[in-house]
Amino acid sequence: MSLGYYFLLPVIFSFLTPYFRKLGTSALRGSSVFLTFILFVQTLEYTGVSLPQISQFSVAPPIGIAFVLDNFSLLFLLIFTFSGFMVSLYMLWYFKANDNTNETRFYVFFNMLLAGSIGMILSCDIFNVYIFFEITGISSYALAAYNKDKLGLEAGIKYLIIGSIASIFIVFAIMLIYLQIGTVNIGLIAQRYSEIDPKIAVLIALMLFIGFGTKAELFPMNFWAPDIYQGSSSHVNGLFSAIVAKSYLFVFFHLFYLFGLNTKYTLLIMSLGAITFLVSEFTALNQKDIKRLFAYSTLGQLGILFMALASNSSDTISGALFHLASHSISKLLIFLVLGILISKFKSTKITIVGDFKSLFLSIVLIIGFLSILGIPPFSGFIGKILILKGFALSHNYIAIAFILLVSIVEAVYFFRLIALMLDKKRTKTSVPVGFVNYIVLSVLAILIVLFGVYPSLLTHYTDLATNALLQPHSYLQFALGVGL
């Protein structure tokens, strides 16, 4: 199967959603599950194939555009398609239990969010990346505002404004690149980046940094992010946290290493990541709104990822990628559970985690919490220890101390929630979970435990991904169309 299907299939499914709807709601929902399922299975097949793989559109790169899949993007592809599959299954329950007036449109945005994110990580043409950036962006604006209530619309508007700013920076950068070296192919840009006038090169780097950094929620460009999470539905937050933020992160670091910016800007990005982590974990302490709380938690984890991914050392990056995968799964799990709770209680106060009575939900939620905190035997622990180990090997003890100290702050609010759940004095209401959710949530929870006790399942891919990121030679060759 050609890589192009990763984009074309969701597009055609999106275009045809009105007709799926006419066949009935189950056809509509089933189509999305089917789509995400094929994408996921297809991605699994790629794990056994020698990479990179390339699939061109119309003309071979560097003139035309192609999708290139290397080991680095494979990891992200796995995460995205898996998360997408899980969410589409979850939506089977969601629209049964909640208002489904605009269900059709939801699936349009959902499919395209997935397609856009995947396109962003596959495309080897920076202008094409920008298009996918906008597709993901518009889908996320619409998904944020999807409920059409006051908060949702406010979130949508804010997201849209920020997205516009980011896109202006990115467009400007792309234009400058084209003006300088006459190409938009990432492989060619990477080859010729050093030939650009140094001052312009700095300007381009900064613009890309601001553009993708804003979307990837890096401090001090992330003041909007919690608002968006708070205003959106919980499953949408799951998508934002597991897929969207990670895709921007991918592009950020892909370009960062391909363009050789790692020599110059490592310290800047590491310290900004550290500040992101610090500020968000502290800020999370005061939150009363559960979605906003986990928004800050997401920001914090992204902060760690920024710190670790920018660190230039293969051990740390490998750990960071593990952490990234683990965080995606855990956050998805948490947001999906919260979705169930919010739809039951019609409230987003943090106290709702103390009000429900369901052993299953409690267990999976606690597994998610502990995993994010990095407590064994859950996957988050392996990620964290790998990151710390990486920092230790490069003798960066400040980073270790920083991560560990702030993690204690993180533990404060996570265990406050757990204590709330365990509080026997609260009156508990039983919550219907829904059959499909049992499957979805247990699959996620089992994965968290599995990666925790048998990490080589994942470290195999993270190591390959790290190599692909740090030695992008074969990727560049493929991006220039060699593999065709």
């Binding site: 074309l8 055609i12 003309v59 604006y141 003006l179 300088q180």
Partner: protein, 242 residues
């Protein structure tokens, strides 16, 4: 008073800063185009003859960077869906605007409609030969509908037809891309015969005019929908729920 002054001060400072920023960037940009390498555009131009398309921009849009255009169409589709989500009247009831019917306006607009649509179709069909194409033509068609709405706000478009056009054209575009994969093993390749000798003729360039027609239909229907929603927002007042 005081507050206002403060705000002005903030504005002045910020605008000065932005000017300084832009001046500085301007200084940088003054030596921006150094033409270190042959641009992709130059290569495209040299290759363009093979596509048998007279308009090189069209060949770039639909062929060389074809997947961009699929994305672009998708973006437009998403925006339309988003606008429909926000502004669709299914959840609201509008009262009819008391509209003074004007015979001349009515007839005139309907007469003009045909002309404008025809022009739009022309622009679309000749997209590979002359400036213009699917996007431009689609927008021209949408302006025809705008004219109708201006003349008669109570008019309604047939959404089912527009949706059909929108969906099927989009699907057709993707299908063309996939058919191409099966035919010549390249996604979105030009699998129809496109002899170079036909360059400049209406039927030339293989799939390129077909794609532009599809894009035209899609953009036309989408823009019409967008126009309808926005016009109705302006003219029609929402009836508050009881």
């Amino acid at each position: 008073m005081n507050l206002k002054k403060e705000f002005r001060l903030k504005h002045i400072v910020l605008s000065l800063l932005s000017s300084a920023l832009m001046l500085s960037i301007l200084g940088l940009l003054s030596h921006v185009k150094t033409n270190l390498h042959k641009t992709v555009g130059d290569i495209v131009l040299s290759l363009n003859m093979q596509t048998a398309t007279a308009n090189a921009v069209t060949s770039v849009v639909t062929f060389f960077r074809g997947i961009d255009t699929v994305g672009e169409v998708t973006v437009l589709f998403l925006a339309t869906t988003g606008i429909a989500l926000m502004l669709s009247s299914t959840q609201r009831t509008y009262k009819k605007v008391v509209h003074q019917e004007s015979f001349i306006l009515d007839i005139g607009s309907k007469m003009l409609l045909n002309v404008i649509v025809l022009f739009g179709v022309y622009v679309i069909v000749h997209g590979h030969l002359s400036p213009g194409g699917g996007f431009q033509g689609g927008v021209v068609i949408a302006t025809a509908f705008l004219l109708l709405f201006l003349a008669n706000p109570n008019m309604k478009l047939k959404h089912s037809i527009l949706t059909l056009g929108e969906s099927l054209s989009g699907a057709a575009y993707v299908l063309i891309a996939i058919i191409s994969l099966f035919k010549i093993n390249i996604l979105l390749g030009n699998f129809l015969p496109h002899p170079v000798s036909q360059i400049g003729e209406l039927v030339s360039g293989g799939i390129i005019p077909i794609i532009y027609i599809i894009v035209g239909i899609k953009v036309g229907s989408e823009m019409s929908v967008i126009v309808e929603y926005f016009v109705k927002e302006d003219y029609l007042k929402e009836v508050p729920h009881a």
